[in-house]
């Protein structure tokens, strides 16, 4: 409709020019359906299944949680496995530091992004009923776990705006070795980090 309303010579030239650029610059991207199998999902279906939250937090839902609310959620739904104050049980690792196999407080942790904590609690916790927490409960549980790890303060509120801004203590110490991998690329020698 847009092009019909602007049916001038200059617009046509621009459009043809754009098409030429697209065709010459990226022939590999001209991917039409070859086999015509599958069905088109509805936008609602995609939205319902696309729950992953990336580091910039753009996918985070509405809601918020405090440390105090999180302590309550934790006591009800997390403590049985993760122990009092996240220190672990004989059955399960603790939550301090995040991701470490031993419940001992050391400098830093193995989680570079706070959004990753939110995402994993949201998709995988509690283990008896994964995916059953409301967004507010996930925000609250995340706040409590981050507080236990001395990453946020007792009165901080975690929501879609504040969560991506939280800097995990070990963020700058992660090296993604093969982030720009290309076919045929030689493996980094020995695949061992060298000083």
């Amino acid at each position: 409709m847009l092009f019909c309303e602007r049916n001038s010579v200059s617009t046509v030239v621009v459009v043809v020019g754009m098409l030429t650029v697209l065709c010459t610059a990226a022939p590999a991207l001209a991917q039409g359906p070859t086999y015509r199998l599958g069905t088109t999902p509805s936008a609602d279906e995609i939205k319902a299944r696309d729950t992953a939250v990336s580091p910039d937090g753009r996918e985070l839902p509405q809601g918020s949680g405090t440390v105090k609310e999180g302590a309550s959620v934790y006591a009800q739904k997390c403590q049985a496995c993760h122990g009092l104050n996240g220190t672990g049980t004989p059955l399960h690792r603790g939550l301090i530091p995040l991701g470490n196999s031993k419940p001992v407080k050391i400098q830093g942790s193995l989680v570079p992004y706070a959004t990753t904590v939110w995402d994993f609690i949201n998709r995988a916790m509690p283990s008896t009923k994964p995916g059953s927490l409301t967004p507010n409960e996930v925000y609250a549980a995340t706040a409590y776990v981050l507080f236990l790890n001395e990453i946020i303060k007792e009165n901080d509120v975690v929501d879609a705006t504040t969560l991506p801004q939280i800097k995990m203590p070990n963020r700058d110490n992660f090296i993604a070795v093969e982030l720009d991998w290309k076919p045929g690329q030689r493996r980094p020698l020995g695949n061992y980090p060298r000083r």
Partner: protein
């Protein structure tokens, strides 16, 4: 008989008519299967090992958390290069193995694509297929001395297996959706309870990554991802997402729990290394190996497996004197890229103490290091590898005079 043949002719005619409408392929295949009452009810319906074969079993390895399960492949008991599906290793970070009805299973592909699409299993199977022999290996395989005493090739190295996988190249499915310019990653998700998530560069997804529905000729086993799993050749197996149900095309990795930091290796200087995709060249002598006992001096065929994330194994050398001298082993042909490669080496044991070890070289020219060489590259002591992943050091087995065999790595 006459009416039977008439029914059959009528059936064939109907099948042909349906096939010409391109809607009847699946139904006609199902109609050819024998009726349930004609199937054998005892274990002849699915052949089982001899009752005298009681040793070839998976073993329970050490798991690190309540939701993790580790079952290791009995490499010492196997021959050739294919791991029987029932003996494939299992190292899961999911909350139980899901029971998935393939009729309900859907693969959703969306994100930076021209046409988001949902595929049923029947639709996935209608795409052009390929069969490829690929190994899978857990990035945490081969930690030195793992297990109760570290004297077992199964407990130390049994987190690798090799199968013939059949499925659709992921590139075919991605092209069907039309990948948009600017896309550089895919994020794959399973339909287990935790919705296990992993990110893979688009370049690998478009290269040789496979969406597999069959393993060794039959449907992928539930513990290996039934009805659909990703197989990412040569890469740490945590990328090969099981129970695959969603692929989002995007321009960045998801930084999901199991990839952001959980599988990163911490270095002595405090840095953590993640996103280490390709596995290093590795070889293991599986017989004779730790925990076994040689009955006496005389001839033995040393055998084992080699593999590499660098492509094809080009050479395996074997030493019987702890690495002082090496001689080239025979490789079972054909050698498949990103697959286990069987090697064999004739050996006469004179009854004296001996240390057996093997060394793999791959098509990129990379050579499997000793633990000392690996430690030197890193600037660490060999003990560092007790807790580090991606270790591919040479594995020595010491043959004692009484024929007993021990892990001689550390």
């Amino acid at each position: 008989m006459g009416s039977h043949h008439a029914d059959r002719r009528q059936f064939l005619a109907e099948s042909a008519a349906l096939a010409s409408l391109a809607v009847g392929a699946v139904e006609s295949v199902e109609a050819q299967a024998p009726p349930p009452e004609a199937r054998l009810k005892d274990n002849l319906a699915y052949g089982q090992p001899s009752r005298f074969d009681t040793t070839v079993r998976r073993a329970l390895g050490a798991a690190s958390a309540i939701t993790d399960t580790a079952l290791t492949t009995p490499l010492q008991d196997l021959d050739g290069i294919i791991t029987p599906s029932g003996l494939h290793f299992l190292m899961d970070h999911v909350n139980g193995i899901p029971e998935i009805d393939p009729r309900q299973h859907r693969l959703l592909m969306h994100g930076m694509v021209d046409r988001p699409l949902t595929f049923t299993m029947d639709e996935v199977r209608r795409f052009p297929s390929v069969s490829r022999i690929y190994f899978l290996e857990c990035n945490a395989n081969s930690r030195p001395l793992r297990g109760p005493n570290g004297d077992s090739v199964q407990l130390v190295h049994g987190r690798t297996s090799c199968s013939e996988w059949t499925g659709v190249l992921l590139s075919v499915l991605l092209k069907e959706c039309g990948v948009k310019a600017g896309a550089s990653w895919i994020v794959a998700e399973g339909s287990d309870a935790n919705k296990y998530t992993m990110s893979i560069p688009l370049s690998k997804a478009m290269d040789d990554t496979l969406v597999a529905y069959a393993q060794n000729g039959e449907p992928v086993r539930p513990h290996n991802g039934y009805p659909l799993r990703l197989v990412v050749p040569g890469w740490e197996a945590i990328r090969s997402v099981k129970w695959l149900s969603r692929i989002a095309v995007g321009d960045r990795p998801a930084m999901a729990w199991h990839e952001a930091g959980n599988n990163a290796d911490t270095r002595p200087d405090g840095k953590a290394l993640g996103f280490r995709f390709a596995l290093g060249p590795k070889s293991i002598i599986t017989r004779p190996s730790g925990g076994q006992r040689l009955p006496g001096r005389g001839f033995y065929e040393i055998t084992g497996l080699a593999w590499t994330g660098g492509g094809a194994v080009t050479r395996v050398d074997v030493s019987v004197d702890g690495g002082k001298t090496y001689r080239e082993a025979q490789l079972q042909q054909p050698v498949h890229r990103y697959a286990h490669t069987r090697f064999r080496f004739a050996w006469e044991w004179n009854g004296e103490e001996a240390v057996l070890q093997s060394r793999c070289t791959d098509e990129q020219g990379e050579v499997q290091p000793t633990i000392a060489e690996a430690a030197k590259i890193l600037g660490v002591t060999p003990e560092y590898f007790l807790q580090a992943d991606h270790f591919n050091g040479i594995q020595p087995w010491r043959i004692n005079r009484d024929g007993s065999i021990q892990n001689a790595l550390l």
